[in-house]
């Protein structure tokens, strides 16, 4: 029997597959389709300290092999999440990753202070959302600007801290190394790629924000390259994501060095897609007599 257990910064995943932030809410809807405890983990919809209504206009647009989204961090706020959903997620046998974003450094700090008072397994710090004009990705593009955020949050955050990197960063490896220097427990990448669509009938951008975030299989080879680069640049564990749609994709990310993977857009193809990926990895391990994933992790 293949052993899929994976350690990530001292947190034990029963298998290396989690659902990515923004594609699974807080887990309740998907739990109506299957027992989400079969997953390794779940990453919450991106929270901000205060409730936020998100972007106006079109929020989703298909591309060949992908989608662009411009949800804009619509979320009920940290307090509502703690009151309504956190206990439920914690009651499950699953790694609880809470994703926190912000429009300003003050947002991040007050969000962290609230989350410091509750139980969770990993705090994923989103410095990479492309859909928020004032902040989000701006914090995650330049290494030295991001350093201020990571340093500040590391000081006040009592949880294990995973920093989610933007593929739009000027230098992805220096950003990752900075996170390690500042005491992050892990790194996750990639968030979506800044992208655009134009409505030629209206002669205008499709999205009110002009640019939006591209995800799905279209970005997988680039995300895989970035995960590979980052895994070679840091010693802290890496959670890889970006267009993972099949178990073969997941194995590629693990061979590139990722400790765990997150599945996002593929859930929209089939809500149970992450389960197929887990089953596929297990079958692959059995067929190739791989006892544990460390045998192939970072092998490339």
């Amino acid at each position: 029997m293949a052993d899929m257990r994976t350690d990530f910064a001292g947190v034990s995943f029963k298998n290396p597959v989690a659902l990515a932030s923004g594609t699974c809410g807080f887990g309740r809807e998907l739990n109506e389709y299957f027992d989400i405890q079969k997953l390794g983990g779940i990453c919450s919809k991106g929270l901000i300290e205060h409730p936020h209504g998100g972007n106006d206009g079109i929020r989703i647009w298909e591309t060949p092999s992908g989608i662009m989204n411009s949800v804009g961090l619509e979320n009920p706020g940290v307090d509502a999440f703690i009151e309504n959903d956190l206990d439920w997620v914690n009651s499950l046998d699953i790694v609880n990753i809470v994703n926190l974003g912000g429009h300003s450094i003050e947002d991040y700090i007050s969000g962290v202070e609230k989350l410091n008072k509750v139980k969770l397994d990993l705090l994923e710090l989103n410095i990479s959302c492309p859909n928020v004009k004032e902040g989000g990705m701006n914090f995650g593009v330049k290494t030295e600007a991001a350093r201020e955020v990571v340093r500040t949050i590391r000081r006040c955050c009592r949880h294990k801290l995973v920093v989610k990197l933007s593929p739009n960063a000027e230098d992805i490896t220096s950003l990752a190394q900075m996170c390690q220097e500042e005491g992050a427990d892990g790194i996750s990448l990639t968030n979506t790629f800044l992208a655009m669509a134009i409505d030629i009938k209206k002669k205008a951008p499709v999205f009110n924000n002009v640019y939006a975030g591209l995800s799905g299989p279209a970005i997988k080879p680039i995300s895989l390259r970035m995960v590979h680069q980052v895994c070679h640049a840091v010693d802290i564990p890496v959670m890889g994501m970006g267009g993972i749609t099949t178990w073969q994709d997941a194995v590629e990310f693990i061979m590139a060095g990722a400790a765990c993977v997150q599945v996002g857009t593929a859930t929209f193809m089939d809500p149970r897609r992450a389960l197929d990926i887990i089953a596929g990895i297990e079958q692959y391990m059995e067929d190739n007599k791989i006892a544990c994933l460390d045998e192939i992790r970072g092998i490339v």
């Binding site: 809807e29 109506e32 209504g53 857009t265 193809m269």
Partner: protein, 236 residues
């Protein structure tokens, strides 16, 4: 997976697809349909035209890559039906009811009209088309009165003051005009509107189909697609 029983072309770009699937669909609900593996990435939310316990029928218009793939399906082929989703139209209303549909928005009104009529309501159907009118005989059979307009504004034909309830599905501009007409005529009839925002997950997890309402953000796929007109259009 469900087996396609029939996929009948009604006009240049409208099709009626019937599939075998056990269900307990309520009028106004929808399914996420998919007839491919990976691409296009997203499944397509399609309203139920009609259903019994064993089969579901969808009226759809070919507008893009996904619906174009549906149009090629033949009897005996497989399609993924995920659903039914959404709240549907209110079931407990009774009286004189107007149903107003535009374009492919007429789809959910067939089953809805029949259900209201079976419960003893008087049902008037107002259907607007930009091209060839569709299924007039079928719609006529589930209504006390059928008003069809081609190329104009179907909202011109209805007097909201005549009704106890009004139900609508169609282009947002049509529903907005109807809402304004309801307000202007001071009718006491509640207006129920069915929204069709773009969706990704279809189950309430991704917040892509959010609709601003008087009561705050709502998920069209899960809290809707049916809302009170004043909740959606009364907010400015």
């Amino acid at each position: 997976m469900a087996t396609v029983l029939e996929n009948r072309q009604l006009s240049e770009d409208f099709f009626l697809l019937k599939a075998r699937a056990e269900n307990n669909v309520r009028p106004g609900q929808f399914y996420m349909l998919r007839a491919w593996d990976t691409y296009p990435v997203l499944s397509r939310p399609i309203s139920v035209f009609d259903a019994d316990g064993e089969t579901v029928t969808f009226l759809y218009k070919v507008v893009g890559q996904g619906t174009e793939l549906f149009s090629r399906l033949e009897a005996g082929q497989q399609i993924t039906l995920d659903g039914p989703h959404g709240n549907g139209f209110p079931e407990d209303i009774k009286g004189k009811i107007a149903l107003v549909g535009g374009g492919v928005g007429i789809a959910p009104l067939y089953m809805t009209a029949r259900a209201y009529k079976e419960k003893g309501s008087r049902v008037d159907l107002y259907l607007g088309f930009s091209g060839e009118p569709l299924l007039e005989k079928e719609y006529g059979a589930v209504a006390d009165r059928l008003e069809v307009n081609v190329g104009g504004f179907i909202t011109d034909y209805i007097d909201p003051a005549e009704y106890d309830y009004i139900v609508t599905c169609g282009p947002e501009i049509m529903m907005r005009v109807l809402y304004k007409k309801c307000v202007d005529t001071g009718t006491a009839a509640p207006l129920y509107v069915s929204m069709e925002n773009r969706m990704a997950c279809g189950i309430g997890a991704c917040l892509v189909c959010t609709c601003r309402t008087a009561g705050g953000n709502r998920k069209v796929c899960k809290d809707g697609p049916v809302f009170l007109g004043e909740e959606v259009f009364g907010v400015g």
